[in-house]
Symmetry: C3
Subunit: 412 residues, 3 copies
């Protein structure tokens, strides 16, 4: 495709070599550095003589599984709306997430749970790794259909590292509270992806425009993704919080916020459209050119709004409202180390750091992905499963008719 | 549609205005009345000095999430079998459930957890709200495709209120036990929907009959719904029970009952059909005219049978069979306040109250929805996504061919 | 179809009669033998005066539900890739699993939890029953599309009994540890199915070959199955383990093993294919003739490899590595009743027993299913929903063209 046999041979080898290289390196790093933590190590746990009911596993595993389903079913199928890109959407979600889960365990481990020469892991490592994979998949949404798997793996390599650094700066250095991952996940993932997509801008992409649309059944698959993201959101927000009332309260708040925003979304969708008809609720709407999944509306703006709301809440937090529970919500205020105003300023600065790291990182990522040795799909082949996957023969009749005329050599 | 530009403009505004009105009122009522309960409030929980493992959240949240998946994935996709109504089935499920979850939290809260001037909420409120949403979606199944979203929102407004009253009368005033929601959810939801549908009877609806059928892939989507309802039923029945052995036993009983009824269903389905072939197991079968999803077979009759079985079990319950556990199954018998026979009579009266409230309420609902200002889809446009949703252009080729000729005025 | 009216009448009655017979017998056996265990019986649990938090239910129910979703959503939809066999794949999965869950509760109950004249059941019975259903569905994958439901029910009857015996010999008599069910589930299910399929070999089956392929949207449905199997695998492996650190560690190990094998699979898939394109990751690839779902690659070889790895791990296990936790991993070594080498030999012998029972049992099963009174689909009707299910009329246009009379001209 798109040129010489040499390039074709290069593409043939790039993906398997990158996979083997990344997996090999990750495996070696795991062997050297990663150890079970106090709750997963047989000797340590039994030495401590704990009650099994108090193992962290039982407090967090159900929420973890919901988050895990969001990442793979939710994100994977949300992107299936592209009529000819379903295999890639689900398949590359698997590939990127599988790498991100391992690589972020290492990055986050070095920054958060490294002691005695080792990273110590348990159920919280799995939740945090899935969060980082979520940010990577948000960025993936901005460049869906326009990038090949080797490019996507390199993006993941860079983004996971920057994600870990940003999170460390916010949570550990600035003492910021980031409810629901507004800053670390949504804002960071969205602006990293958007700036990366801007660098990769291609004026000729309209050639593939007819494949950027959905068809009836591909939209139904995408709704599976939407529903999974919606129903498990309370678990997403409550999975990493303090145990007890905080986890309970976070799930409850998310649940009712989602219901309220659903009604508002229906109202807006009907008001905005010319003829009163609804578009698939906001999660799938408004695909801007070059932002395939519309992640700016979906994650970018909501993330920034959430972060600003966090600034407000921090500024208004008092011991009266939270009682002894203030300790688990804004511990630095509770301990008297910080005033509410100071906490609010730190929150705002956290948002600023996130935006800087995301935009600079995304731009660097874009430059990296433009390296000529990396094989991007040609303009006429974007949003098309067939250059990456063996596709059943009936495909052409089932979707929108045969491939268009400007691609006469595709299947010859 | 169906006439003048004025009506078209009216429809354009009805849905967003109703959404904003309902959401606005709900939000104000939440702000005034709703407070965290003892397990979700930071100050109250920490003041009590509880062990985190004893927070109700950990006993019920996994079951809640299963119920939540049943309501949105299960009911949502079960109704996707209609070949041209998939967007509406999933989308309106979202809309109705999102409103029902909030509104029923208020109604049930006033009736069950109102003290010191406030409603107090926690994980049990979420479970109960999802149960009420389940009843609303059962009723929705009876009028699927024949009603517009403003009508459906008004139905929800009425049904949630009556659902709360019925439940209060049964559980609090009559001391009835309602295992699996046989009466409060299935019987109430089914007969409310059926009587509402009867009032909305339209003799000319056969005009849309060709769209009431399914196609191969829409049936596969509906199977996703069926499976989710089936696998999570043990959670549905066990989510609201007493903790410990009762919750355990309820999940177990549901699990084995489902397997037994599956084999029986296969046997009956093969015997009943003329040629020994199977129809999609009973959950999707037998669409009676005007009862789009066949909710009478699916919820109405099973609900009544379950209620009658409850009468029988109550009449036979003895301290010998349950030991000290009788306290959590039939507490009034255990405390000696009621004989087994008296409990059985109360159970039977509970069924009677449910049927009266459901049929009267459903009939009133039907009259309400017939108000001329509410815009119902015209006969020729029933079971059709296109009047409510932006549908991808390929839709017409993908499903059963272009819209038929007798509907020339649809989009003019 | 395929012959005389008498055969047609026979087919009409075989399935319902078998269903009613099996369900009737199972119900009677349950009534006679099955009782609640200590954690599900109201009287026993309350007599013990336990804390509700310690009821086994709360430690295992979330993992159980994940396993349950794997069995029904995962296996059910994984097999939907056949373009004209979606109803049968999901429907027969329901039928076989519903019978296997009950029958294996009896078989496993007699072998593992029979005392005082009764089988005692609780959440662990449900998990173990789902595991056995998993093995049956693995075998089903080998003969998918080539067997009718009465044959499949008889296969289930035989396989569940042998599964129980094999598991009893391994776990109770030989003291073998079988992490992740490598031997008892994957190896046993795969070789039972493969030998059964070999006995049922039909040289003329290429007549139906064009229906063995997938189409674009059937592959997307199959991906739903794949994802559910992938995301819940940590629950599958950790559901039956000892509580506390062991369950935690098992989930963690499975999670990271899956991510690593995903990257390796992408690498191999891209290397192996001629042109560098990917096939749907290994779970769906390589359909060998007569092994419809390719279960040899998917379960057989991985199961044997896992078992051999277990031999290695047992041989190397020391008290230094596990501390007091060795008790829960290799209890016989911990108690000094067995050396590490002796445990390794027992593990190897367990694999041998499994292979013998699976191959002999599968061959016997094949002979049983060849009984002329059992109605197998004719060669020209294999992989075809229409002989078992009422299929919507549009089906023919939607998939690959109309059914031909004896199908000589199908693709001409």
């Amino acid at each position: 495709m798109a040129g010489s046999p040499r390039r074709a041979a290069s593409r043939r080898l790039q993906l398997p070599l990158l996979c083997l290289l990344f997996q090999g390196a990750t495996t070696i790093l795991f062997a050297i550095f990663v150890r079970y933590n106090h709750e997963t190590d047989a000797a340590l746990w039994h030495w401590g003589n704990h009650s099994n009911a108090n193992n962290e596993f039982y407090f967090r595993y159900p929420s973890f599984q919901d988050v895990h389903a969001m990442v793979f079913v939710g994100f994977g199928f949300l992107m299936v709306f592209l009529q000819r890109y379903g295999f890639s959407s689900v398949g590359f979600t698997f590939l990127l997430a599988a790498f991100a889960l391992q690589w972020s365990t290492l990055v986050q481990g070095f920054l958060h749970s490294f002691y005695s020469g080792h990273i110590h892991i348990g159920i919280e490592s799995m939740i945090n790794a899935d969060f980082c994979a979520g940010a990577v998949l948000i960025s993936f949404g901005a460049i869906l259909g326009k990038t090949g798997p080797p490019q996507l793996l390199l993006m993941t390599l860079l983004e996971v590292a920057l994600f870990g650094i940003n999170e460390f700066v916010l949570l550990n250095l600035l003492g910021v509270r980031d409810a629901g991952g507004s800053m670390t996940i949504h804002t960071f993932g969205a602006y990293f992806g958007l700036f990366l997509s801007r660098i990769l801008y291609r004026p000729q992409l309209e050639k593939s425009k007819h494949r950027q649309s959905s068809i009836y059944h591909s939209d139904l698959f995408a709704m599976i993704g939407t529903i999974f993201l919606w129903i498990f959101w309370p678990s997403f927000n409550s999975a990493p919080t303090s145990l007890g009332d905080t986890q309970h309260r976070t799930a409850l708040n998310t649940y009712y916020s989602l219901t309220a925003s659903t009604l508002s979304t229906f109202a807006l969708s009907a008001l905005v459209s010319g003829d009163g008809r609804l578009d698939m609720p906001i999660l799938e709407s408004k695909f801007k050119i070059q932002d395939t999944c519309g992640i700016h509306n979906l994650h970018g703006m909501p993330g920034v709004l959430g972060a600003l709301l966090g600034v407000l809440v921090a500024g208004l937090s008092t011991h009266d409202a939270y009682g002894d529970g203030l300790e688990s919500v804004f511990p630095l205020i509770a301990k008297g180390q910080r005033s509410a105003t100071s906490q609010a300023i730190h929150q705002l600065f956290g948002l600023f750091v996130t935006l800087v790291l995301a935009t600079v990182g995304g731009s660097l990522g874009g430059l990296l992905l433009k390296l000529p040795c990396l094989d991007a799909p040609p303009d006429s082949q974007c949003y098309e499963d067939q250059i990456y996957w063996e596709v059943p023969g009936e495909y052409e009749n089932e979707v929108q008719g045969p491939l268009s005329v400007e691609e006469p050599d595709t299947r010859a």
